[in-house]
């Protein structure tokens, strides 16, 4: 494979991220300005968790007497140095809190995505090779239903069935408290706790991918190069997997970029249901305690995660579609 100009591509895309980050910061600032009370009330937590002295100090530091643009610049400066402020409820810097919770969220998101991609592809290919069969019909019902089921409710019902009812899987958390030692035992323990939340989060995307793969496969079956493969003497399975499915992956990757934001939103709810100690669970705790500064920090940071994920998806697309010229236009 000859992939020229991959480095400039990454640099250029990184550069394009800057205005997006600026926009997200501006949105956050706007919410702060519009919030009832002044910025420091919001930042310091409302119910008097911070001492009056500290609040006075904060007001001075923020220059609330200064004009808005100056305040905004100040705010930008804070964000640029990754200073997201302090959570007076949890008595920790917001960034530190987020960083300790981020790995759990990333683990949940990537597992859910992996399940969705693998299972969705399988279902989609299966349906496409058997159009009109009972399996195809069952898939369309599954998709219809999945689109309507709220993820958090699905999680609750999964707990009812698999934890409370059958007792197969733990109902929440990430580890068993006081469980066995050893890295292997721990990985197994986390994996066991991961199954229900990851499958719950993946279900909707599984349906989306299954539908997408099915329709792209059907479209590809009529493509000229599939006919060429057949004329070469390739068997139906080879045609389906090597030729059609490989090309059906492309729209799937495009879809992925559209969904990274919604996947993060879904993770917030799933983590709340399963007490999964990630960003979403942190957000839930922040809601309960009205820790608005922490909540705004999570909003800013999760947007940044989405931006980075989209960057990765773009890179992935360049790698799997040789027609995309990293230097710019699609050839």
């Amino acid at each position: 494979m000859k992939r020229r100009g991959l480095r400039p591509f990454v640099l250029r895309r990184l550069w394009q991220v800057v205005p997006v980050l600026f926009g997200i910061a501006a949105l956050n600032f706007l919410i702060l300005q519009l919030a009832p009370g002044d910025v420091v009330d919001v930042l310091a937590g409302e119910a008097g968790a911070a001492t009056p002295e500290y609040m006075a100090q904060l007001r001075a530091a923020f220059g609330l007497d200064r004009p808005l643009p100056v305040q905004f610049l100040h705010y930008l400066g804070n964000l640029a140095t990754l200073d997201l402020g302090f959570s007076f409820r949890l008595n920790m810097p917001v960034l530190g809190l987020i960083m300790t919770r981020l790995p759990a969220t990333l683990l949940l998101m990537t597992s859910a995505l992996a399940i969705a991609v693998v299972a969705g592809s399988l279902l989609g290919v299966l349906a496409a090779t058997r159009v009109g069969s009972w399996a195809d019909t069952a898939l369309s019902w599954f998709v219809l239903l999945t689109y309507a089921v709220p993820t958090f409710w699905l999680g609750l019902m999964a707990i009812v069935l698999f934890s409370a009812g059958l007792g197969w899987l733990p109902s929440g958390g990430m580890y068993t408290v006081g469980a066995g030692h050893g890295a292997l035992a721990m990985i197994g323990d986390v994996a066991l706790h991961l199954i229900l939340p990851a499958v719950t989060l993946s279900t909707f995307y599984m349906a989306v991918y299954a539908r997408l793969v099915r329709s792209s496969m059907l479209e590809l079956y009529g493509a000229d190069f599939i006919r060429t493969a057949r004329a070469k003497g390739a068997g139906e399975w080879r045609i389906t997997l090597v030729h059609a499915f490989r090309n059906a992956l492309l729209p799937m990757v495009t879809m992925l970029a559209y969904q990274s934001a919604s996947l993060l939103s879904g993770a917030v709810l799933v983590e709340t249901v399963f007490s999964w100690p990630g960003l979403g669970r942190l957000a839930y705790e922040a809601i309960r305690t009205r820790d608005l500064n922490l909540l705004l920090g999570i909003l800013f940071f999760s947007s940044v995660v989405v931006v980075l994920v989209n960057l990765l998806v773009d890179l992935l697309y360049v790698l799997i579609d040789p027609r995309v010229d990293p230097a710019g236009r699609r050839a």
């Binding site: 205005p19 519009l34 709220p150 409710w153 934001a261 939103s265 917030v268 608005l292 999570i298």
Partner: protein, 282 residues
């Protein structure tokens, strides 16, 4: 699509199976929301019977009671009204913002379009549910903030659709004709382009309602619902602690959400097929 296509529309909708199914489901839910309070009068917040009464145990409370002894049937009816209202109003807001942004960007193009599209992209990058959570939390949970927050996070898809429509219609003869006879821009947009751009927007808005209802349920599940209003999400959130002993408390309102969202999705898909006949499967 001109007015002459309208008589065909109802017919096309009635023969479309998913549209018909969605409309029937929706009629049932609407009927429940309207006549429900007559069947189960009383405040859904009030203790009406012994707590944790299973559905069917006592016909005075056909769907049982929750841990506080509140009647679930009354709660579900109240939830139906809340869900439909919040879904509709927030979608109106989203459709309004989306149409405005899409129309301006698509009509003027150039830098206006570029700026508006950047803003649209920004709203698609920020995780919409997290944004809705922040908005409701900062501005205090109430029906009004929920409606506004859901509206504010739901408009980008509509904006993109309207923009695409405007880009297409902008160059059509009847628009150019309107321009040459000296129609002003607002008049051109409102009387010539917008009516022709609307049908797919209506179909999409039906799907937006479905999503808004899900978002509302999720917000009130997290405790961000209006504290004075009993919605489906509120009941589910309240029933979590007793999930193992009384799963129906969470189960029933969830089924209500599923049925309602399904109804709007089916109707939306049917509308899509009926309004874009050329996109129909062969």
């Amino acid at each position: 699509m001109s007015a002459s296509a309208q008589p065909g529309l109802l017919w096309r909708l009635s023969v479309n199976r998913s549209a018909a199914g969605g409309a029937v489901l929706l009629a049932l839910i609407l009927a429940l929301a309207i006549i429900g309070p007559l069947l189960w009068p009383g405040d859904p917040w009030e203790m009406a019977a012994p707590p944790m009464l299973w559905p069917g145990e006592d016909m005075a409370n056909p769907l049982g009671t929750d841990v506080m002894g509140r009647d679930l049937a009354a709660g579900l009816v109240s939830g139906a009204r809340v869900s439909l209202m919040i879904g509709l109003v927030s979608t109106l807001i989203a459709a309004g913002i989306g149409t405005l942004f899409g129309a301006l960007g698509g009509f003027y193009g150039g830098s206006v379009d570029a700026v508006l599209m950047r803003v649209t992209e920004l709203f698609q990058t920020v995780p919409s549910f997290v944004l809705a959570v922040v908005l409701v939390a900062v501005f205090r949970p109430s029906v009004a903030t929920a409606v506004l927050a859901i509206g504010i996070v739901s408009w980008p898809a509509t904006a993109r659709l309207v923009r695409a429509q405007f880009l297409l219609l902008r160059e059509r003869e009847f628009v150019l004709a309107g321009e040459t006879i000296g129609m002003g821009t607002p008049r051109l947009i409102l009387t010539q382009i917008l009516p022709n751009a609307l049908p797919p927007v209506i179909a999409m808005s039906t799907l937006t309602i479905a999503h808004a209802i899900q978002t509302e349920a999720a917000l009130s599940f997290l405790g961000l619902g209006d504290p004075n209003v009993m919605s489906w999400g509120t009941i589910i959130g309240g029933g979590r602690e007793q999930l193992a002993e009384a799963w129906y408390v969470c189960g029933l309102p969830g089924i209500a959400v599923v049925v309602t969202v399904l109804a709007f999705n089916l109707l939306g898909e049917g509308l899509n097929d009926a309004l874009n006949p050329h996109l129909q499967r062969r």
